[in-house]
Symmetry: C2
Subunit: 381 residues, 2 copies
């Protein structure tokens, strides 16, 4: 069975204090429906990716909560997997279509985070980590800093080069009108930013954001004129929550497992991917992802980023044309679906101002925790 993305939409990401969860969902879903040439009555089920609504907004029962945006008492499901909530919701939605139970399904990724103090949100995000990590007083920046130090030490690299990830992604973000930070930064500016946890500086860390993204998928045969994007594969794998239980700090096993299955099932190789959205919650996360996904050899991702290989106008694979989590923003549950919306726009040649030339195959890499869960999707047009 062939599953197509009919359309998608992303709200502006950022500090959206005047918009409620429902406002964000309404905008994302209704614009995704319009982009798909559909009406809400065409939607048979709704999948929602969200992590923090219970803790931050005291709102759960999220499938039903958002189902009135679609109407018709549709079956609706809330899927949570920390920062991979969007990717897991999409995987579940795909299963429901492949099963033949539903034909046309909407997937919403959503998070509203900036109404709370940043420190409180950072503490709540630690619910994605292990109990041992929480009890030790770790933060996600601290855990990723451990991984960064292990990586830099293993390959004898300069911490300064980590900021190249942020420089690239902020350049891309400067071209994206939906991005939270539409401003390019220089290497010098990034290096002058404060250390958050050594070796990670401010420009190595993604932000706390509000936003929503939605797509519509279908198993129906679709007219080529509306440029359906085919989902070639959807793969998920897990790993331990805590870093202390892993054999390596410089590769994510869940990503490796999901990626190898995804490449095999889709029948493509890393060099076939024209455009990829990788989960750059911290600069080191993108570095590990580039290597785990096979876009660079081990230890060479930073060199390749610095050479402009992955930057718009570079050879390929173009990575995080949306600005990534770093510049586009990271409303947790929305991120995995925003990646799909970005790829859909790119594959359709509709990524205004930041189009990747001749993009035919795209890949989304969405991670929860420090790699406890990974969802990989490969798309083609």
């Amino acid at each position: 069975m062939k599953i197509s993305i009919l359309g998608g939409s992303t709200t502006r990401f950022g500090e959206l204090w005047s918009l409620s969860l429902h406002d964000l969902a309404n905008e994302a879903i209704n614009k995704a429906l319009a982009d798909s040439n559909l009406e809400s009555k065409d939607i048979e089920a709704l999948y929602v990716g969200n992590m923090l609504s219970g803790m931050l907004s005291h709102q759960e029962n999220l499938g039903a909560f958002f189902s009135d945006v679609v109407g018709n008492n549709v079956p609706a499901f809330h899927v949570e997997g920390a920062c991979a909530s969007g990717g897991l919701a999409l995987h579940s939605a795909i299963q429901s279509v492949l099963s033949g139970t539903y034909e046309t399904v909407a997937v919403l990724g959503i998070e509203k985070m900036t109404d709370q103090l940043q420190d409180e949100v950072a503490a709540l995000l630690m619910s994605a980590s292990s109990e041992e990590e929480r009890e030790s007083g770790a933060t996600f920046a601290g855990l990723y800093a451990l991984m960064a130090n292990a990586y830099l030490s293993k390959y004898k690299l300069s911490a300064d080069d980590l900021v190249e990830v942020g420089v690239k992604n902020h350049y891309h973000g400067s071209l994206n009108k939906k991005a939270q930070f539409q401003k390019a930064v220089t290497r010098e500016r990034a290096l002058a930013s404060p250390l958050i946890v050594d070796p990670l500086r401010l420009f190595d860390c993604s932000s706390i954001s509000d936003g929503a993204s939605a797509i519509v998928i279908t198993s129906k045969t679709v007219d080529k004129s509306i440029m359906p994007v085919e989902i070639l594969t959807s793969e998920v794998a897990t790993d331990t929550l805590g870093l202390q239980d892993r054999s390596s700090l410089t590769t994510l096993k869940a990503v490796e497992l999901a990626a190898s299955r995804a490449y095999k099932k889709a029948g493509v190789k890393p060099e076939d991917i024209d455009v990829a959205e990788l989960h750059d919650c911290f600069s080191i996360a993108e570095v590990l992802a580039i290597e785990d996904m096979g876009f660079s050899k081990r230890g060479e991702a930073l060199r390749d980023i610095k050479s402009g290989f992955f930057t718009l106008g570079g050879k390929k694979t173009i990575i995080n044309s949306s600005g990534g989590l770093k510049a586009c923003g990271h409303p947790v549950g929305a991120t995995g679906i925003k990646q799909i919306v970005e790829l859909t726009d790119q594959l359709r040649g509709k990524a205004e101002g930041r189009q990747v030339t001749d993009a035919r195959i795209g890949l989304a890499h969405n991670v929860g925790g420090t790699g406890a869960v990974a969802a990989i999707h490969i798309l083609s047009i």
Copy 2:
């Protein structure tokens, strides 16, 4: 494609202060595997139903969190739908098997609630309701009391008869070694219990509980000797979160919709159901469920309960042989899966001490909020 339940298990429900979330998951999953004659390596994916872990235990990323109980880096998913989290997790697991992506999948329902003050838990449970209901100061007991008053007034019935639900379910619970309350109560005792919200008394309300339940489902052809239970259908529908947006307080639209689809797809009628687990979070909820599911005519459920029609040894359909949420306990995310474990035991003739004679067809009815979401499963042997 035929989907079979291979086995299942439920921990004791109750105040389990010495057991962690992981302890509960380990026991439920490992006993479900043993009951299924499987090892953990046979499991290809894990679905977890849970509502409150983020708020109560500061633990999210629940798919990955519990995945180590199964091992092998299995794809794992956390599905939330308030008190219907278990039923929705099962529905999603079924889709993943019907899709052909996975063949053999475990489903875990789990909740740990009693480590917190009951008032705090009751407040957090309101995250399943609408913002308007929360702002008005409503509690779930209060909202169900509104429904109870509407029902009693519409059919000119005595509030005293509501306690018959608790009397029946406590009798059943007295026969279930896993139940939180293994004690029968008399009508007099129930009527003498304090009013919680008029007309609901203590014995009209389910409890706050800890517990976990797990099952294993498969699309593989299974030897008849292990008595596989077939899942005939799995249906989900939603409604508005808030009572204020509904046209009726004496019927749940989400239940009616899911039930009519379920009966049609399974090719059975209410009178064919030998044993049913209905979502009796409050006595009035079971009353409405009995009528919405077609086991009694409108306005006659209380009379039928009082006549012993649904009690073990009664004609049929036997309702809540486990003790229901009222006596077996209601660890929110576990309830929907506990219902399936109970039905599986009944259909296999293994419901020790409370066996329904010649049980061939079973039905589970799992509701979230005051009926904002409903999941209906029909099983047969």
